[in-house]
């Protein structure tokens, strides 16, 4: 147990990235098992607080992924999400939250290999960064 295995939480949309991750599996492509996939209807549904909650509950890294621009099942959910992340990422950085641990991406239902690459890349980066104790310790101050 002395090697650190990061926990990665992935918030993905139902229509593109979740299907893409499914394709990774059916294509028998191997990738790091550190990722926990959470399926939501659309990237537009991913509340910014979910990212903060993931860190508070022990995630060391977060992936947010959905349909490429123009491919949204609901026409515009990912465009709204993109604007939200443009502001939220800056705010996280301003507050000193480590934005290297948050990865935003577009992965379509046809990009099974790309999903595997993405997870591997994020996992190795977060492994290097180490556990996000700085944030997780905040949660501990609440339970005395």
């Amino acid at each position: 147990m002395d090697t650190f295995e990061p926990k990665i939480t992935a918030f993905v949309c139902n229509w593109c990235t979740y299907a893409g991750a499914d394709l990774t599996g059916t294509s028998r492509i191997k990738y790091q098992s550190n990722v926990r996939v959470l399926r939501l209807p659309c990237t537009g549904r991913i509340d910014f607080m979910l990212l903060a909650k993931a860190f508070a509950q022990g995630a060391d890294g977060v992936i947010v992924s959905g349909c490429h621009p123009n491919d949204c099942h609901y026409t515009s959910g990912n465009y709204h999400a993109r604007r939200r992340w443009m502001v939220y990422r800056g705010l996280m950085d301003f507050l000193g939250i480590d934005v290297r641990r948050v990865t935003f991406s577009w992965v379509s239902a046809a990009e099974g290999a790309r999903w595997a690459e993405l997870v591997d890349e994020v996992t190795s980066r977060v492994r290097e960064l180490g556990p996000y104790t700085e944030y997780q310790e905040l949660a501990l101050t609440g339970v005395e």
Binding site: H80, M86, L91, G96, F104, L138
Partner: protein
């Protein structure tokens, strides 16, 4: 025209049913006041001590019931009024902004268009101390900023004065009060404080008119206004629109352009 004179006239003619402005409070302070009779208009004051943004009162139900309300407004209050109009929280005919200059001379601005034209002539500059602190934070490394805000938030006791003072925080049921399930911890421990300020800043991004009332309201002196100032600057830089400039402004995060430019999504 002089504010007192104008207010007396408006009330006497029945153009408005109340004038919202400032009167003398205790200890040399100024406090908000609703003037409802013409003879009371003599109590109105307007000077450097009247920094509070009065726009927040206008959306309240008990104020709405008074009828048409004139409001003594500096530039920040005017911006807030425009933003509230843009968010359809006010109707033009419900209010009458009285724009004030430094000498206490008032000018009635009956339409949103008049307010926009009035504001277009006013230069908006962030106070020097805020600008310096923002720049200093921007120049720090991430760990430095984290340490700075954790130190600041350690004094926060979640009194919600920053939320309550904000004219844009008008939601009847705030996310902070949402407890089924408890979304943001209500206790003022390190995590609850960070999440609270994160939510507040994000909910005001693209809506903050940078009046700074939240920072002034904070009883322990946390520069909470810098969080929303930062968000406002980001929105201006990335989407080219500023809150409180027009009564026909779309919410920056409620709309989009297919060619929005970002550099971090892969």
């Amino acid at each position: 025209m002089d504010l007192k004179e104008l207010s007396r006239e408006l009330l006497a003619k029945g153009d408005v049913q109340a004038v919202l402005g400032f009167r003398r409070g205790t200890g040399g302070r100024r406090r908000p006041a609703f003037i409802r009779r013409p003879e009371e208009a003599a109590n109105l004051v307007f000077d450097a001590g009247c920094a509070q943004n009065l726009a927040g009162y206008l959306t309240r139900r008990e104020v709405r019931r008074m009828g048409r309300v004139a409001v003594a407004a500096g530039p920040d209050t005017l911006r807030a009024i425009l933003q509230l109009l843009a968010e359809r929280q006010l109707k033009e005919e419900e209010i009458l902004p009285l724009a004030l200059d430094a000498q206490g001379q008032a000018e009635a601005l009956p339409t949103a268009q008049a307010v926009e034209a009035h504001l277009a002539l006013q230069a908006k500059a962030m106070p020097t101390a805020d600008r310096e602190l923002l720049d200093r934070l921007g120049a720090m490394d991430r760990a430095g900023r984290w340490a700075f805000w954790q130190d600041q938030f350690s004094r926060c006791m979640k009194c919600y004065a920053c939320r309550n003072s904000c004219p844009m925080c008008y939601c009847g049921h705030c996310t902070m009060d949402c407890n089924r399930p408890q979304w943001v911890p209500e206790a003022s421990h390190a995590l609850g404080n960070l999440e609270y300020h994160l939510v507040r800043a994000m909910h005001l991004a693209g809506r903050c008119v940078t009046c700074g009332d939240c920072g002034r309201a904070c009883p322990v002196g946390i520069p909470v206004h810098l969080l929303t100032f930062h968000g406002e600057e980001e929105v201006r830089r990335q989407f080219g629109q500023g809150a409180g400039t027009s009564a026909r402004l779309d919410y920056a995060l409620g709309t989009f352009r297919p060619d929005d430019k970002e550099t971090f999504i892969r």
